[in-house]
Amino acid sequence: MADVTIPVSAPPVHADEALVGPSGPRPRKVISRRNIILYGTLFVVAVYYLLPLYVMIVTSLKGMPEIRLGNIFSPPVEITFQPWVKAWAEACTGLNCEGLSRGFWNSVRITVPSVVLSIAIASVNGYALANWRFKGADVFFTILIFGAFIPYQVMLYPIVIMLREIGLYGGLYGLIIVHCIFGMPILTLLFRNYFTSLPEELFKAARVDGAGFWGIYFKIMLPMSLPIFVVAVILQVTGIWNDFLFGVVYTRPDYYPMTVQLNNIVNSVQGVKEYNVNMAATLLTGLVPLIVYFISGKLFVRGIAAGAVKG
């Protein structure tokens, strides 16, 4: 879907036909009324979309006196990185003044295992569903997919009870399990569809050669499905990093992920509002998914399309 459309090229011109007349599409005028409207509209919309990012960056580089005087769109007169330092290491949430760094490391400690574990589980699941279908598998799969649409609120409290029963409520491990659970529908769908699209002969040949469930998975399926793993990683890293609800419900303040801590810093009612620090903190939190997004490019688009298009 992400391909750039290539204009239909003119058919090869033979010597005798060349005399008949010009062939191929008429060359377009570069500056036409249509193009001005088209690019003008796109440009205006693009400015609108970029504005918040610009405001974030600009505000985070100003000092507070300058913010009080100027407007939010004007570029900083005097660039200062103090707000960034403060947001990272000194900003307060309640009594704790360690800055966002704690939230950042919590988020890392949540995201990395959650991504690895959820993808491992979902890929094996998808593989079982695609190649080793057993009776009843479709029923479970349907429930799973339905679960993706059910509002999380319905399952919030039962999971609190379950985690409390196994003693993981409030810590990082509990949250990791929760992320694995809620990532499962979409990832399983992703992997199932991918493995189904691989040629069945491969699987059959491996079966004839005596490979078993895990043998085929590790020796044939895994090496062939690197792209879909990358898509899944992108999907999960951004999804888990950006999560707020599960973080706030299933962890204690010590283990709050970055998003929760950011919200607590910015929306705390105590003290003077330091907008520059707030914006630096906001940018810091948005940086990880933004980097993932700008690096992954087309794969990100593929990920959301895969997540969106039903099986």
Partner: protein, 297 residues
């Protein structure tokens, strides 16, 4: 498809079944079990801890007589309808513009989609800052000389939900645009050629040929937007915290507040069951149309 050709003895699929245990547990215990548990306990008067003291529909009566819940539902309706309409229209228009074989298509798409990579918390906080009446848009227009100019959606209870809508649209139209673009690219080039040969104007081709052909894309997009709408929570928490007063409360926040802040579990369960009901009203007809029809055909 596979079973028909391959005999399926229990032992041969044992590893597959073991591998599927996490999925089975999630589907049965968490998704199905958790949902049923919540529905059952919504009929109890649980407060700090869940109790099996059944009180019939009391919680629901209390829910629907609570002004906070009524406002939540109204907000969800306004937010939902506006988001649905605007994101579909804007998303489609942007996709149509990008589909004109333009240059820098990738750049434009990257720009339109990047907000989608950001969390709702980040989105909410940025727009809270831009809509700040003192320093943001209102302050700037006033400093230009138009002193009576007023644009403070986040501090005006009547229009606060539209302030949230602006942020939500900024965050999510890129996704809709991408889905629509994929749909447009799926349309056969010959159809465009045929329309051009027949001299049909471009807007007519879109309105009467292309859009009807993209019906499945529209339906999928609709379901994605709709299921996102009901879940809206973080954005409100970050941007307004439900304020001013209770003017921008939404159901998901009502549930969280009841369960974890005001020790009113029964209310939370009842409210979340109502949310489930809303989703099912959207989901069941869709699932029926999409999957029910396919099996028969």
């Amino acid at each position: 498809m596979h079973e028909a050709r391959r005999p399926n003895p229990l032992f041969r699929n044992l590893s597959a079944k073991i591998a599927a245990i996490p999925m089975i547990l999630t589907a049965l215990v968490v998704f199905a079990g958790g949902t049923i548990w919540t529905i059952i306990y919504s009929f109890t008067n649980s407060r700090l801890l869940p109790r099996e003291n059944f009180v019939g529909l009391d919680q629901y009566e209390r829910l629907w007589s609570s002004s906070k819940w009524i406002i939540s539902i109204q907000n969800l309706l306004i937010y939902g309808v506006c988001l649905l309409v605007f994101s579909l229209v804007v998303g489609f228009l942007l996709a149509a513009l990008l589909d004109q074989k333009i240059r820098f298509e990738n750049t434009f798409r990257t720009i339109f989609l990047y907000p989608f990579a950001l969390s709702f918390i980040v989105t909410g906080l940025v727009w809270q800052w831009i809509l700040n009446p003192q320093f943001g848009v209102e302050g700037i227009v006033r400093s230009l000389g138009w002193t009576s100019f007023s644009f403070d959606p986040l501090y005006n209870a009547d229009i606060v939900i539209y302030g949230i809508l602006i942020a939500a649209l900024w965050q999510s139209t890129g996704l809709i645009m991408c889905l629509m673009l994929a749909g447009l690219r799926g349309i056969d080039e010959d159809i465009w050629k045929a329309a051009r040969v027949d001299g049909i104007p471009m807007w007519k081709t879109y309105a009467f040929i292309v859009i009807p052909m993209m019906r499945p894309v529209f339906i999928t997009t609709l379901v994605i937007i709709a299921s996102g709408i009901v879940k809206v929570y973080d954005l409100v928490v970050a941007q307004t915290g439900g304020g001013p007063g209770i003017a921008s409360e939404v159901p998901a926040k009502y549930v969280y507040d009841a369960m974890f802040l005001s020790q009113n579990l029964g209310q939370g369960f009842a409210a979340s069951t109502m949310m489930l009901l809303t989703v099912l009203i959207v989901l069941i007809p869709w699932a029926y149309l999409e999957f029910g029809g396919k099996k028969r055909g």
